[in-house]
């Protein structure tokens, strides 16, 4: 007969035995060697496959920390940084020669050579489900011309702008590991225990965290003299931003890349530091654009769209919805880091800013009048105007923003109501073009203005517009200009500027969508355990691989290779944390 006391005694003995015998395996990370970050992951870690792009926010180190790209890019100085590649150049209009850096090893000690680069590009040729396989529309051949030399041959019109973007976004994978894998494993495999070439290695994960451990054998230390300071990076995921805010206040997080509403207060109270000491506190990371459905009346009328642009009280959005954490966007929508492509003359002539009387004047001269006396204008043909502006429910800052958009439009006499459907419904309305007007910000920091224009004027117009031009603005002249920009070599800055100027002229005349404000590169950190974070006053260019570049305080997916990793190499432990 089993008695309770016997069971209890046995369990106790087992517990003690177990605890003492495996105590050795236990790991507690020393605080002074560990960097705690948060804000990138929106879900539990699911895979470490660099070819599955949409989940990379959840294991944000996969590209950048573990797998690396041929180049890195610094948006602040607009510089491509030779990384896995030692150099790369266009030898003629459609041949690109790449020299792979010698002396790089994978974490299993195999050397990284031209073989791996060619293999990675060949994968995309074989499997159309890999995100960069459309590159093969204009890429003809990739050949290995030496142990560390690769030659890319293109068709007559390579998309130079996109190519540069690829150079710092395509992660190179080790051929000796990936060549034996099936298509399914490559396009949909979890790729646990990834073998990369980067500064950190995968160590462990659980539902709410990723742990990356430093690769002490990293080539960057040997060849470039870069020393990532933290021995471990713990990337934490919180259920809500409120919990993230609490963790920041408690001092559990070193760098938080969450959108936290009270940052202005916390900065003033001395809890955290941000890139700028005052508004907007954050660098600008992407443009919030109000897409107008140009297939619906009256948004098919450029005059109406222009009036709307003048009617929206963006300064109020910045002040109330974002508490000065963001900045009013340039009318062209281009980020400050791409400012050199803004034609100031065009903006001065055609640009818009909040000006309700201007809005009513444009409406009046275009024939929009309040006929039935309800305080809202009717279309020139006398039909009533009732529009909705949407954003997904739960996106709190945007929900406040569209309230202001709607109320300022109403103040100018345009009847607009704000609606917040759930994400799925919103996404369907967005891609199938059934919305009236909606917010979207899918073009982030980039090496080229083409990234934004590719989002705004994506073509051809299809039944489902999954990746841009949601308002279905159909203008062959504009499409031709965007195509022309895509095919302009990035070395031809004057040529790029000329095309951009034409695009901006057309865009501000037609106003098919309205750029409103720049969302921030949300980043707030403490100087308790780690210091020397990049700020407006502490971001002198550092020499890396022959170029001088700046740092970005971000752990988001895609930002490790845009200055995030360099931030790690410049951090210093304060010694104040045990």
């Amino acid at each position: 007969m089993w008695s309770w006391s016997r069971v209890c005694r046995l369990l106790a003995v087992l517990l003690v035995l177990g605890l003492t015998s495996v105590l050795v395996l236990g790991q507690v990370f020393p605080r002074n060697e560990t960097l705690y970050v948060s804000g990138a992951a929106w879900g539990p870690p699911s895979d470490w496959n660099p070819f599955i792009t949409w989940s990379k926010a959840n294991t944000t180190g996969t590209i950048g920390l573990v797998y690396e790209t041929l180049f890195m890019y610094d948006p602040l100085t607009d510089t491509l940084i030779p990384w896995l590649a030692e150099s790369g150049r266009w030898v003629n209009a459609n041949t690109y020669e790449l020299k792979v850096r010698e002396g790089i090893t994978w974490t299993d000690d195999n050397p990284l050579t031209a073989n791996d680069v060619v293999f990675t590009f060949q994968l995309a040729k074989m499997y159309p489900a890999i995100w960069f396989s459309p590159t093969w529309n204009y890429l003809q051949k990739v050949t290995q011309t030496g142990p560390y030399e690769v030659t890319f041959e293109f068709t007559a019109n390579p998309l130079y702008q996109e190519w540069d973007n690829n150079l710092y976004n395509i992660a190179i994978v080790p051929m000796h590991i990936w060549q034996g894998r099936t298509e399914q494993e490559i396009t949909s495999g979890m790729n646990p225990n990834p073998v990369g070439s980067g500064a950190y290695k995968y160590e462990s994960h659980s539902e709410d965290r990723n742990v990356w451990v430093r690769n002490d054998d990293w080539w960057g230390t040997r060849l470039l003299g870069l020393n990532p300071a933290p021995r471990r990076i713990v990337d934490m995921r919180f259920s809500t931003n409120t919990v993230a805010l609490g963790s920041v206040i408690k001092g559990d997080v070193d760098l938080s890349n969450n959108f936290l509403p009270g940052i202005a207060h916390l900065t003033q109270w001395g809890y955290v530091q941000t890139y700028f000491a005052g508004p907007p506190y954050m660098l600008s990371a992407n443009t919030a654009v109000l897409f107008l459905n140009t297939t619906k009346k009256p948004m098919d009328d450029p005059d109406f769209r222009k009036a709307l642009a003048f009617a929206i009280n963006t300064p109020e959005i910045v002040r109330v919805a974002f508490a000065d954490l963001v900045k009013v966007a340039n009318p062209t929508g281009l980020l400050p880091s791409l400012e050199k492509y803004v034609d100031q003359d065009v903006v001065a002539r055609l640009g818009f800013s909040y000006n309700p009387s201007r809005a009513t004047a444009i409406l009046a001269s275009a024939g929009y009048k309040d006929i039935d006396g309800d305080g809202f204008v009717e279309a020139p043909d006398g039909s009533k105007i009732e529009l909705e502006v949407t954003c997904p429910f739960g996106w709190t800052d945007w929900m406040e923003a569209i309230k202001i958009i709607a109320s300022s439009a109403r103040a100018a006499g345009i009847n607009v109501q704000d609606k917040t459907p759930d994400y799925g419904a919103w996404n369907t309305a967005l891609t199938t073009g059934t919305f009236d007007m909606t917010l979207n910000n899918w073009a982030g920091m980039s090496n080229t203005p083409w990234t934004l224009y590719n989002l705004l004027f994506r073509h051809p117009i299809q039944e489902i517009m999954g990746s841009g031009n949601f308002g279905r603005y159909d203008n062959p002249q504009m499409f031709a200009l965007v195509d022309q920009l895509a095919a302009t070599p990035s070395s031809d800055e004057a040529g790029m500027k000329a095309v951009c100027s034409q695009i901006q002229e057309l865009m501000l005349t037609e106003m098919p969508m309205i750029p409103l404000w720049y969302n921030g590169l949300w980043a707030q950190w403490t100087n308790t355990c780690w210091t020397n974070w990049p700020t407006e006053t502490n971001n002198n260019p550092i020499p890396v691989a022959g170029v001088s570049v700046k740092r970005l305080p971000s752990t988001w997916s895609g930002y490790w290779q845009m200055g995030g990793l360099l931030t790690l190499t410049q951090l210093q432990p304060t010694g104040a944390c045990p």
Binding site: S55, Q184, T187, M236, D422, Y423, T428, T431
Partner: protein, 330 residues
């Protein structure tokens, strides 16, 4: 008797079949397209979107007619295949669930059982002590009437931020990897404490009040007075009253245990505690057909098993119900 259980079994199988079918259907009525939603999270590099969309729609088996998807679903289910999660692609659903559920059991099982024991104990005591009734019962009312997240957030604010004695997030320290050591067990307990206490308090109030009212009913019932009049000792009368009062409480307990697999959504949100509840909400918001199906399959099984257990328990414990359950003339 065997006829009775046979019929019960039939009804429960039918319930299972219908419930699973409805749960299969519901996400498919939701607006939007799971693959589209999944890919839209990638945002960057949309060049190949159309091709990728076709590829992954096929990979999820969503390119065949709906009736065929339904047949495939049952077929896979009988082979123990729950499919692949869309939200956490490419993780298998069963793995996702198995990883999350232990946290819920760790949290909910003690919370449910301890609050049940303590609640019933206090309720029974309160029913015969004026003093206790005036102190514990009002507390019970306040606890059951408090919006749970409000209480949870207040607890978290006071103990994790102001007093800074408990952690604010996670199931164990972010500075540890799971292993067997006193430090790790201590860390797990420390992270577990606030979510547990919040659940315990709210549940405790409900059980205590239920028990208090039930006991008073029973003590005032005719049979109690009759027994007392016969000169039975008070202890015995109370014992009978307690026995009768505990029956509905057992029903409540088993139903509570039945939905244990559903996790504790609000707790997980407030304390950022990993578990299945928050996962289910995310799965629903991302239209993850397969994860939704998988989770609800377990919930259905839990609830039905609990109900079945109640049926059996009642027949055994309380012979009076036997007659009624079989029903006359039907």
């Amino acid at each position: 008797m065997s006829r009775y259980f046979g019929r019960k079994l039939l009804v429960y199988s039918l319930t299972f079949f219908l419930a699973v079918t409805i749960d299969w259907m519901i996400p498919r009525f939701m607006p939007g397209d799971p693959v589209q939603t999944m890919l839209s999270r990638g945002m960057l590099h949309a060049e190949g979107l159309e091709v990728m969309y076709g590829y992954y729609t096929k990979a999820f088996g969503l390119d065949v007619p709906v009736w065929k998807q339904y047949l495939n679903f049952w077929n896979a289910l009988f082979h123990g295949d729950f499919g692949t999660s869309v939200y956490l692609f490419p993780q298998p659903v069963i793995k996702v669930i198995m990883r999350a559920v232990p946290y819920d059991i760790l949290l909910l099982l003690p919370a449910i059982l301890l609050s049940w024991f303590a609640g019933n104990k206090f309720g029974a005591l309160a029913a015969r002590s004026r003093w206790l009734d005036n102190t514990v019962s009002p507390l019970g009312y306040i606890l059951t009437a408090t919006p749970y997240m409000w209480l949870g957030i207040l607890l978290s604010w006071v103990f994790a931020i102001v007093l800074d004695i408990f952690p604010i997030a996670g199931a164990y320290s972010f500075a540890m990897t799971p292993h067997l050591s006193w430090a790790f067990v201590g860390s797990v307990l420390k992270h577990w404490f606030l979510p547990f206490v919040s659940l315990f308090l709210v549940k405790f109030g409900g059980w205590a009040i239920g028990m208090r009212n039930m006991i008073i009913y029973e003590l005032e019932a005719d049979y109690s007075h009759y027994l007392e009049a016969l000169g039975a000792p008070r202890r015995l009368v109370r014992k009978y009253a307690f026995r009768n009062a505990i029956l509905p409480q057992i029903t409540g307990l088993s139903l509570d245990l039945g939905v244990i697999v559903a996790g504790a959504l609000v707790t997980e949100v407030v304390f950022s505690y990993p578990g299945i509840g928050y996962l289910i909400l995310q799965a629903i918001q991302n239209q993850d057909y397969f994860l939704i199906q998988g989770c609800f399959l377990f919930i259905i099984m839990g609830v039905l098993l609990a109900n079945f257990a109640i049926d059996i328990a009642y027949v055994i414990v309380d012979p009076r119900t036997r007659l009624g359950m079989v029903g006359e003339g039907a």
